[in-house]
């Protein structure tokens, strides 16, 4: 494998034939860490290294565990949302029915000169579900 190094500004280039063992190690790193060989070479040539804290496996494990938890919650969330939606629709229908019954009740009471039924809590509930 031939390596060509160029500067970001200006002219010139360095051409070098990479030794087979060097190239195969670069390829190995590239595959293991999902970084293109150019990336591996760039780090090696610039010499800008970082120190590992040595907890890679622990971190991978933690990510796996958290993903599992998210999945569990997603499984719980979807059916609950579906049930809540269904219930809210039921309540909407009930609210429509109730407002009809209340109107009828008021009309009948007026005719009979009876005091009207004031039920502010129920009215609040009805308007809440009618808006939803």
């Amino acid at each position: 494998m031939k390596l060509i190094i160029k500067p970001d500004k200006g002219f010139g280039k360095i051409e070098v034939e990479l030794r087979e063992d060097v190239w195969s190690e670069i390829e190995g790193l590239s595959e293991r860490y999902g970084v293109p060989p150019e990336g591996v070479l760039k780090i090696a040539l610039t010499g800008e290294f970082k120190e590992s804290k040595g907890d890679l496996e622990k971190l991978e494990e933690k990510v796996k565990e958290l993903k599992g938890k998210v999945w569990e919650l997603e499984k719980e969330y979807a059916p609950l949302r579906y049930k809540a939606y269904g219930l809210s629709e039921d309540n909407k229908i009930l609210a429509i029915e109730l407002s009809g019954l209340i109107a009828e009740n008021n009309q009948l009471r007026r005719f009979l000169r009876l005091p009207l039924n004031r039920n502010p809590e129920l009215r609040k509930l009805i308007s809440y579900y009618l808006q939803g």
Binding site: F49, L56, L59
Partner: protein, 110 residues
Amino acid sequence: MSEIKVTLEKEKFKSLKGRDINAILRENLPKVEETLRAEREEFLREKIAKLEEKLREMEGEIEELREFYEKALKDKELMMAERDRLRKENEELRKRVEEKKKELEKAHGA
């Protein structure tokens, strides 16, 4: 013949001129591996923070949804009870209205 191209900062490029690139690479590759591990660790730490935040959000949403569901269930029971009560009451009142109408008709007729 296959080749691979890398672009470096001008100063870095200059410092490599005339040097044994294969030897530099051979020497540096173990440090590259450690760097790649460190970068992966960094990426995973960020991912963990995001996942933890997502979990907190989801837990909050589920809690809210559960509260909504429980309240809606109670509301449903209450509204059903009111509906039944009003149905009965309206039926009674309708009867009374009918009676009153009849009385009025009688009074008019008489």
